[in-house]
Symmetry: C2
Subunit: 211 residues, 2 copies
DNA sequence: AACAATTCTTCAAACGACTGTTTGAAAAGC
DNA sequence: GCTTTTCAAACAGTCGTTTGAAGAATTGTT
């Protein structure tokens, strides 16, 4: 697992992407200046144009990095469920996995922040995130939800219920500041995350039992 | 209901706030230039400094306008519920009211967009929105939820459940683009909104019945 | 192994365009 | 005649990008 010694140019590339993820997510695309990014990466402004062609090119490179992380974290699908109880278990494990990615430290916080900002700005990474994370996860959960409830997989009811489910998870990340303030939590630690997952799991069980 | 004829200076003020709400919500604070805002308001750039002192002053004025709209839409609390079934009904009506505000055309879309962006950027309007909308609504729903379930009002379980509930609503707005794409909806019309409310209502009923 | 030729990478400096803000004069309202 | 409001123009500063030279790394030839 020892990382091969990167050529110095690759170090600069990686540092620029890391700085881009951080500052884009903190200040937005327009708010993060190339000089600030280069400064955080401890290199010259011109390096951005050299390595990525332009600021927009760096944005795309950041998006690809995030897409790569998403692929690692939520890519592999589980086995096809054969019955409602298996489907129920699969829903919970998918939820836990996505929660770990969105709320925990599976992925660098800057990467999640960048992703959410691109989604809300409709930036070029939005399509990538949609295609690689949202759409597949949603589709898979729809299948599981349909098996667990007996409803039709492509019915509006199922698709909306799954959105409501995923929405809770996204919200706990998007509104982290608000939640932490109201809950008087200093951070999302493992304990807090499992409390959130418990809450969501309770909701799922009720929904599956009742509907 | 006829609006008193505004002095011309008030028209400029209002036009600048409207343009600010629109462009801040579309491009973010940093991305919206004073010239673009003045152009959309069909006035001169210097008007911003004249009426609001600075660009930041316009941002604050926009925040106050949004706070005013929120106060109108979700301000008045209903009567104190005396039993679980009344609490249940009150939860649903609160949900419907907030849904109308967040998803429908009760408030100008630009105002909602501005609000969400300020929340995610942690801008100066974030505290205002939190204090006037999130905190009171959350607190009220916690009371109702506690009455409906018999749980303690200030328990973590109740507060998290209410966050999960509100989160679904916020998410359907934040991720409108994504939802519309996956649902193949062209817009959030009255029909679509009531389908969303139905989904959330079903979830609430299950949760209250099961938990 | 040693040296020169060549490519790849970094850098300070400068480019024009655009940023938020200020100015003083013209226009409008009273 | 006076105050309030608008406007074109200019301000200093920052923006993303380009430039050409200097530095570092690699290659090819001895």
């Amino acid at each position: 697992m020892s990382k091969p010694p990167l050529p110095h140019s690759e170090k600069t590339r990686a540092a620029l992407i890391a700085a881009g993820l951080h500052l884009f997510s903190q200040l937005g695309y327009a708010g993060a200046s190339t000089r600030a990014i280069a400064g955080r990466a401890e290199t010259n402004v011109a390096s951005i144009a050299y390595h990525f062609g332009s600021k927009e090119g760096l944005r795309t490179a950041c998006a690809e990095e995030v897409a790569r992380l998403i692929g690692e974290a939520v890519g592999q699908a589980g086995p096809q469920p054969v019955g409602p109880s298996q489907a129920r278990a699969a829903i919970k494990s998918t939820l836990t996995r996505v929660a770990g990615f969105l709320l925990g430290d599976v992925a660098p916080p800057d990467a999640i922040g960048f992703m959410l900002r691109e989604l809300s700005e409709g930036g070029p990474a939005a399509d990538l995130v949609y295609a690689r994370m949202i759409e597949p996860t949603h589709q898979r959960l729809c299948v599981l939800w349909a098996v667990a409830t007996g409803l039709a997989e492509e019915s509006e009811q199922v698709r909306l219920a799954v959105f409501a489910l995923m929405g809770q998870l996204f919200y706990f990340r998007i509104a982290e500041r608000i939640v932490r303030r109201r809950m008087r939590w200093q951070a999302y630690g493992p304990g807090e995350i499992s409390k959130i997952i418990d809450t969501l799991t309770r909701g799922i069980e009720s929904a599956l039992a009742g509907g």
